[in-house]
């Protein structure tokens, strides 16, 4: 009983104008102070604990999600005012489609309404210079929500100061698979043969005629088929030999040997070398392509798992923080220790590295 009174008195005090003013001052002082140190460029949040928060506070699940959205707005404000460039949040997992239908629908509606409001006051994101991107399987979003998503992305795409990545129906494994698939597709499509004013046919003929090989009977054959670069690749594809690359190379060597395959030489399917694929190639095809490396990964609600979020991005030197609080409670006061500890570790790291350098120089 006394707990209830205490919390009421506390909330009354905190909502009184002087206390509120002081808190606002304190907030902006802290944020301003934090931005004096090193600032992470990319932060990811796994917004976990909305449902558990709702259950423990005896409110509807959807209301928990709404409070979670408020927490997100607070955190985004903190991040952008500090100078974080990219914030990535895990809004909806592919696994979440297995949740009860009313909850999925509720979440979709929430996303729709919030994005709609975002579009209505476009100034809001302009003030921060933030652009919204939605990462994930967009084809699984219901069409009415997708339309709003696309509109939100389109209206904010000119803002370059900072980025908000919303992982909508997302899992990291799906992202990595997509990246692999796209890479494979890129590497197995032939680059369009660039057209030059010089015909390889003519050159071979010139060479042949110079060599005095005008008596070569093959020359007349080589002239007859008209070179058609656009149709030949399809010919090659329809070739029932399953080894396209080796066919290409044998054709190539044949043509140079017999010196009559000039027409085919132009259209040989030359694929990019697969040995040039590196982890950067895959990274370029991830949803987060172009984002700076992930510096901080935060997961709330005390669960110490990554749960299929940002696996590729965070497995190297990202600092991962697992926090006890539920996401709707998350605020500057929870984020501050994380940021300060990160800054402290950066300082430690720099200090550890300088003596080593000195040793190397000596």
């Amino acid at each position: 009983m006394s707990d209830l009174y205490l919390s009421r008195i506390r909330s009354w005090f905190l909502s009184s104008p002087p206390a509120e003013w002081a808190l606002q001052r304190l907030r902006s002082a802290l944020i301003g102070a934090l931005s004096q140190g090193p600032i992470p460029r990319h932060v990811a949040f796994e917004m976990d604990g909305n449902r558990r928060y709702a259950r423990s506070h005896k409110i509807e699940t959807i209301e928990g999600h709404s409070l979670g959205f408020e927490a997100l707005a607070r955190v985004l404000e903190v991040c952008y005012r500090c100078g974080v460039k990219v914030v990535t949040v895990y809004a909806f997992s592919l696994e979440n489609f297995h949740r009860p239908k009313y909850e999925v629908d509720g979440l979709m509606q929430l996303a729709k309404v919030k994005l709609e409001q975002l579009i209505q006051h476009g100034e809001l994101l302009d003030r921060y210079g933030a652009s919204v991107r939605v990462l994930g399987r967009l084809d699984l979003i219901p069409p009415d929500v997708l339309e709003v998503v696309e509109r939100a992305v389109a209206t904010t795409q000119d803002n370059t100061e900072c980025v908000l990545n919303i992982c909508f129906p997302y899992t990291s494994r799906e992202e990595m698979t997509t990246a692999i698939r796209t890479t494979v597709e890129v590497y197995s499509t032939t680059p369009r043969p660039h057209s030059t004013p010089f015909s390889q046919n003519r050159i071979t003929q010139k060479i042949l005629s110079k060599q005095g090989g005008s008596s070569n009977p093959l020359e007349s054959i080589s002239e007859s088929p008209s070179p058609s670069p656009s149709s030949s690749p399809s010919l090659l594809h329809s070739d029932d030999q399953d080894d396209a690359v080796s066919t290409a190379t044998t054709l190539h060597s044949d043509s140079t040997a017999v010196k009559n395959g000039g027409d085919q030489e132009e259209t040989v399917a030359i694929y990019p070398n697969v040995e040039t694929i590196t982890s950067d190639t895959i990274e370029k095809h991830l949803y987060t392509a172009g984002c700076p490396p992930l510096d901080i990964f935060v997961r709330t609600s005390g669960v110490e798992r990554l749960s299929d979020f940002m696996l590729w991005q965070c497995h190297q030197d990202t600092h991962i923080f697992f926090l006890k609080c539920f996401w709707p409670e998350f605020d500057l006061w929870n984020f501050l220790p994380v940021l300060v500890e990160w800054q402290w570790r950066q300082k430690q790291k720099a200090r550890d590295e300088t003596p080593r350098k000195r040793v190397k120089q000596a």
Binding site: Q24, A33, R181, T278, D308, L311
Partner: protein, 346 residues
């Protein structure tokens, strides 16, 4: 200007009523006081008449900005002074706690004690993974020896606890070059722990065939007679140990992509056939399966290049500010794992 609390109240009421209470304009008005000043970009675009007046203002603002900056630097310094005091205290406190834990939970190199510790746990991970670090790379001899020693310790604890699969991640992969020595060291340690009825063990690495150990199988044990309740005629334990390194992470995925791209170039594969299941099956086959629990012995969570595909749902355990490989960390990890699973089931 309404206070923040009342603004928040209005906002929530609007939300509850299905966004019918406020018009978009009213909502914008509600938000306005909390927005930062418009960015400088739009300011530069402004008309020229205002620019002079603004310049005069700017001079004043410059002083103010300078003062504000000094104030922020001061606050920053204060925060960091307090934080470094706090973190020293925290490290000291955690060091003491860890010391106490390590005295309280000590294995005394007897599998029975470890088994007794583990007995109360509701469930054990089937596949445990640990991250070890090779320290002191300049004198690699001492560092390597220490690393192998840590590997043997962890392997012995796992064997005692009855965890059938262990994978050991070490970033540089130096151990893969000393697989025979490591194998020997582990079997020695197991002998030391278990005596005659030593569990069998296999040590391998991705793309390297596993080394099997075949310790004298007919170790009809006297220990079994004295403590029959612990291992009642169960078949001899087996533990398989896997050594992995940074190259089994991204690089193995790159290799897989290369193979797939080559197959696709030769028209042996349609790119639409590349699914999560296919990639998962391939990576599980050639590297390892998903571990249930990952124990870090470092002071904070940093994965240092651990295979990204495999840590999807792995429970990650670390002890804050811990330094070094210790049995208490291992045991607390197992205990946490058991508890976490319980909560998930509820």
């Amino acid at each position: 200007m309404p206070s923040r609390a009342s603004a928040l109240n209005t906002y929530r009421q609007d939300e509850r009523l299905g966004y019918k209470l406020l018009t978009p304009e009213e909502r914008i008005r509600l938000l306005k006081p909390y927005l930062p000043p418009p960015p400088s970009r739009s300011r530069s675009k402004s008309r020229t008449e205002l620019s002079r007046a603004r310049e005069e203002k700017k001079a004043k603002l410059g002083v103010r900005r300078f003062l504000r900056r000094q104030y922020h630097v001061l606050v920053f310094a204060v925060i960091h002074i307090f934080f470094s005091v706090y973190i020293r205290l925290r490290q000291a406190y955690n060091a003491v706690v860890n010391r106490i834990y390590s005295i309280y939970y000590h294995h005394h190199r007897t599998p029975e004690l470890i088994r007794r510790d583990v007995k109360g746990l509701r469930r054990l991970p089937k596949h445990l993974s640990v991250i070890l670090t090779l320290e002191d790379q300049r004198h690699s001899g001492a560092g390597l020896e220490r690393l192998i020693n840590e590997v043997t310790d962890v392997a012995a604890w796992c064997a005692s606890a009855g965890i059938p699969q262990l994978s050991i991640y070490e970033k540089t992969g130096i151990l893969k070059g000393y697989i025979k020595d490591t194998h020997e060291a582990i079997s020695q340690k197991l002998h030391f722990y278990f005596g005659p009825n030593c569990p069998s063990m296999s040590l391998g690495a991705p793309h390297i065939p596993a080394l099997e150990s075949s310790v004298s199988s007919d170790g009809t044990d006297m220990i079994n007679g004295s403590s029959s309740d612990e291992d009642e005629g169960e078949p001899r334990q087996h533990i398989s140990i896997m050594l992995i390194s940074a190259e089994d992470g991204r690089d193995s995925m790159v290799d897989l992509t290369k193979t797939l791209a080559e197959m696709s170039q030769r028209k042996k594969l349609n790119s639409a056939d590349i699914t999560t299941e296919l990639v998962d099956a391939e990576l599980t086959e050639s590297v390892m399966s998903e571990p249930d629990l990952l124990i870090l012995f470092g002071p904070h969570v940093e994965l240092a290049g651990y295979p990204p595909w495999q840590i999807r749902l792995t429970e990650i355990f670390h002890v804050r500010d811990n330094q070094g490989v210790g049995y208490q960390v291992f045991y607390r990890g197992l205990r946490k794992f058991a508890q976490a699973q319980m909560r998930k089931g509820r």
